[in-house]
Amino acid sequence: VWPAYVGIIGLLVLIVVVLAGGIIWYNLHKSTELMVAVAERQIVETGEKVSDRIRLLYDPLYAIVGIASQMPDVEAPSNGNGYAGAPVLLRVLSFYPQILSLYVGLDNGDFFVMTNIGGDRAAFAIRIKRLRATEPAQNVGYFSTITVSKLDARTLG
């Protein structure tokens, strides 16, 4: 009788193991499919996020460069010591911290640049260089975007 007991019990245990194993395997299979589908969706979303970010980075720059290059006084650095468009550009730099610098290069080699040096949108340097002049490039100074007033360079570190 005992071999019959063992056989029947073994068979029933085997059925339980196979059923439980099958359920676990099926569950794993479906869970994996779900995970992969979620990951694929996340990949698509990440792609869209990065594309949006690139758009957000570039679009204001396109607009700024497009408009600023048509400003009436855009070539002003060649005519005087100051730059008429500086306050506008200073504001632009403060609004868009992703912009490192805005500049004008002229056909005669003159160069005007306004650079974000604060990193925290606090200060910007303006530099004017005249290619024909014998003296080195001129640092006009450091300016606060909040007050548009000149800052002491020593406080900028």
Binding site: V13, L28, I43, V50, E75, S78, V104, T115
Partner: protein, 219 residues
């Protein structure tokens, strides 16, 4: 700075003969020696010239490094011809760019980065010949990936690549499977004596046999 001539810079030449805003390729800024892009546009005035704006790569790099679907996932920008444009690790990227020792550089090749995941994705893209979803293998690890085209306005021939290791995606499901398996085996082991007793009793009943009580055997 005294030897700096704007007319020699890449952004100046690009915009000079164009009437629209021109994006530059990646190059090293003269100002801070960091990589970045420039948008420039020419203007006509008493003294003509070019207006430019610099966009550092730091911002884009930081953003890419935050796009982690899993710990081992990678998000980067490359060109159709296999040049690297943006990579989440700025230090690695800058190191390659500075190898030439120039401030005006060509984009580095993906192979220079020595990142098999990025190179593998580019190989899968090349094999397919079009943007889309890919599955590829690197060092016995499968990756699911996607290549998205970036509009030409934001960079010439540029593509965004995202790769995620399949094992990291499957890890929560496998962990759950292992846990379920462990609990099932433990339950089976503890329930087995009861299970056997019940089955033996059931067989006995079916066979018409009744177990002899211990006190009856003593008598």
């Amino acid at each position: 700075v005294t030897d700096f001539d704007p007319r020699q810079r890449p952004w100046y030449g690009l915009a000079l003969h164009s009437n629209r805003v021109e994006p530059s390729d990646l190059y090293i800024y003269h100002l801070n020696n960091e990589p970045g892009f420039t948008l420039s546009r020419s203007f006509q005035a008493a003294t003509s010239g070019v207006f430019g704006a610099d966009l550092t790569e730091t911002d884009l790099t930081e953003f890419l490094s935050k796009q982690r679907i899993t710990a081992g996932s990678l998000c980067f920008i490359f060109t159709r011809s296999g040049e690297l444009v943006a990579y989440p690790d700025l230090a690695r990227m800058t190191a390659i760019l500075r190898q030439s020792g120039e401030t005006m550089v060509a984009l580095p090749q993906l192979s220079q980065l020595r990142d098999p995941v990025a190179t593998g994705l580019f190989a899968a893209y090349q094999e397919s010949g079009a943007a889309g979803n890919f599955v590829y293998e690197v060092a016995n690890r499968n990756y699911i990936s996607r290549v998205v085209e970036i509009p030409p306005r934001y960079g010439r021939d540029q593509l965004l690549g995202i790769a995620v290791p399949l094992d990291e995606i499957e890890y929560p499901a496998i962990a759950l499977r292992n846990q379920t398996l462990l609990y099932s085996i433990a339950f089976l082991v503890f329930a087995l004596p009861l299970y056997v007793t019940l089955i033996v009793a059931w067989i006995d009943r079916k066979l018409g046999r009744r177990p002899t009580p211990a006190y009856a055997e003593d008598e």
